[in-house]
Amino acid sequence: MTSAPLPLSHALDHSHAHHEIGFLKKYIFSADHKIIGIQFLFLGLAFMVVGGLLAMLVRWQLAWPTPELQTLHPVPILSTLLWGQKAADGTIKPGVMPPDFFTMAFTMHATIMIFFVIIVLLVGTFGNYLIPLQIGAGDMAFPFLNGLAFWSAVPAGAIMLAGFFLPGGHAAAGWTVYPPLSGLPENAGFVSGIPGNLLQIPGSTWPMAPIYMNLFFQFMFVAYMCAYFVKLGNNFLDIAVSVLLSAIYAIIMVRGVQHVAYDGQSCWFLSLFWLGFSSLMGAVNYLTTIVKLRCAGMTMFRMPLSTWSLFITSILVLLATPVLASTLLMNLLDHQMIIYAGQTFRLTSFFEPFGHIIPPNTIDGNSGGGFAILHQHLFWFYSHPAVYIMILPAMGMVSDIISVFARKPIFGYRPMVYAIAGIAFLGFIVWAHHMFQSGMNPTLGTTFAVSTMFIAVPSAIKTFNWLGTLWGGNIRFTVPMLNALAFVSMFVIGGLSGIYMASTAVDVQIHDTYFIVAHIHYVLFGGTMFGLFGAITFWYPKMFGRMMNPTLGYIHFYLTFIAFNCTFFAMHILGIGGMPRRIASYMEYSQFQHFQPMNEFISISAFVLGASQIFFVINFIGSWIWGKKAPQNPWQANTLEWCEAPSPPPHGNFTKPLVVHHGPYEYSSPLVEEDWLPQTRYVEGQEKFVPVH
């Protein structure tokens, strides 16, 4: 594709364009898995602030749910900014949070936390960063595709954020988007847009800010492709063509999106399609890389557990995400209203039955005939495997961290691998445990209860193997280790509360109460988030070439750990008492009013929890600038990324071809004097000790 260079472009090439493009391709449109991993890391952390602040709003409302209470404790900033009432003297009186805002807040809190924080951080960041490094590959199997995965996750985020600006507000049907609620066209009005701007489609409700944001990120999507296909940087013409192409694509795309996503709920659906594509590309890439690009001697059973768990997670992503895509597609179709021959009605009604009524008393004009809980089946067919997508990589990384800092081989490496596989397999056949009370066939309930109970068995194997790893160890309490230990202890609490719900009969009482909310956060925050904090602090030196500040790390850890337990443990009690989740005010029910003080306590703890994250942010950014230079292997770990790659690893990762001689966890081996033995180091007589993998 080399065109005859024009003199001008030739000149450009040598003056500044070359360097400029070099930077672009190196840090922005990079196809290097490490840069992409770090890009995902920033994306996830940025969204975590958004999701966390939404959680703070949720907690604020729940602490002081009635207008009287909330006037005493008005929400900072928003109470005047959004809900303030102008008094006669011109001052603005703070208002209270409307219930629909609350509904939106927890819906978006969960959506952002799950799809844009946890999945992005676990699978996007660590999947990308660790896999090639840990298997001794130079990069992913398809580096270009890998970058594409990132550049389609970003527009997904942009569309998701756009929903906040739409007149009807963002999606407010819970993160589980159960139809018919999610299909209600209540905020799907055909409001005419702001005229006088080329980009604004007449009839679209989008204000300009999200349009610009979306335009920019859609532009980047094609610009990325151009950077590789049109060979951005070779000459002026190519740059011009690329820019033009990207701009045209961006305008067409944003206009299309504006048409389909006229309200928050449709933005929600559309954004998740995009993200689904991104996950899929990622998963295909990870799997192929692991199957195909392991270095010499790196057998499957010599891979670190992080890589193993990411491998199996990718299988889950590969097979579960498309199901979410199709159910969201049908949901989106149901959600569209259409005008035909002067008659307004719903486009399809996959999930709305005959004689369905749009509240309060409107018939929806479509035929009906759908099946409301079908969506639940399909949604949970994805989302239950998804909750394991959200914990397995953390489990893998925690295994690595624990083994490193206990200076001991992981206890029962193979059972650990089989347990991951077992969880993944069972994860596919338990989905209906979210639907015990949904009106589905009660016999089906029993079937799913049995499979759900059994998923605790591989989880137990993992838990006990972690304990086994600690047994007889030489434990170093570093920041990553503390976070990993918190993972183990908190996951046990979260997992055990799962057993209550797994029992169909007990679930009758606690389904959709705060008990579930407690469970969610013990596994997702107590489990995954601590795992992530551990992983980030563990691999930070490798990623950025700097050590993190341990003091700040300890402060962050202790504060988070205490505040976390104060926040979420009490929720079990509320749940057993019957307090419903997703409820703007429990004060409506006389029998839940006495929960107010406990809720207040929970909220204050939650604010402490939120504020503790500031230490993490300071540490993260500060260490990047001021941190001590990290050596290649600060933790004296065995795996390839520590032993063979400098910190940070160069493009192409390793400087020489690698040969692996044994498993990743040979700590305190009697064969060598030190308590660690890199995977690449061959020791005479190792066959006698190292299990034959």
């Binding site: 391709k25 196809a31 290097d32 590959a137 130079g138 990069d139 992913m140 199997a141 398809f142 580096p143 270009f144 595709l145 590789y228 296909f229 192929t288 199957v291 195909k292 690009l293 299988i315 097979l319 199901v323 039955p353 005959f354 004689g355 009906g368 005939g369 099946f371 809980i373 079908l374 089946h377 067919f381 596919f428 056949i429 209906a432 009106g439 589905m440 066939n441 016999t443 089906l444 079937t447 493009h651 192409g652 990762n653 390793f654 400087t655 020489k656 071809p657």
Partner: protein
């Protein structure tokens, strides 16, 4: 492996590309079989069997045969290793599982939904 050459086709994996072995397949015979089976399945659709289930089963059976022909010969599945089989069998099993798990639910609720109003000109038998 360590050097990174950006001039490569971007979607090409790192490392040497392995040439695919080439297979002799009687493509035209397979094609003829597919055409024949299409004719058969259309013909069957016009036949009235005592039970409709027979129609459905036959149509699906023919589709499975046709699908296998395409997969095994056109898609060269016949010549692939275990890995490829593993990759496509898992989703097939999962999909069967999915359908079988949801069907009892529908059967339970079918008599509950107002689908009975299909009997257009009779009073509908809507459950209470």
């Amino acid at each position: 492996m360590t050097s990174h050459d950006t001039s490569r086709m971007p979607d090409e994996p790192h490392g040497v590309s392995v040439l695919t072995p080439h297979h002799e397949v009687p493509y035209f015979v397979i094609f003829a079989a597919l055409v024949f089976l299409t004719a058969v399945t259309v013909a069957i659709a016009f036949v009235k069997f005592p039970s409709e289930l027979i129609n459905v089963m036959l149509a699906l059976a023919v589709a499975v045969v046709k699908g296998s022909l395409v997969a095994f010969f056109f898609m060269h599945l016949k010549f692939e290793g275990k890995l490829i089989y593993l990759i496509f069998i898992v989703p097939l099993l999962l999909s069967i599982l999915m359908i079988f798990a949801i069907i009892p639910d529908v059967l339970m609720t079918a008599h509950d939904s107002n689908s009975a109003s299909l009997h257009l000109f009779n009073a509908p038998a809507i459950p209470k």
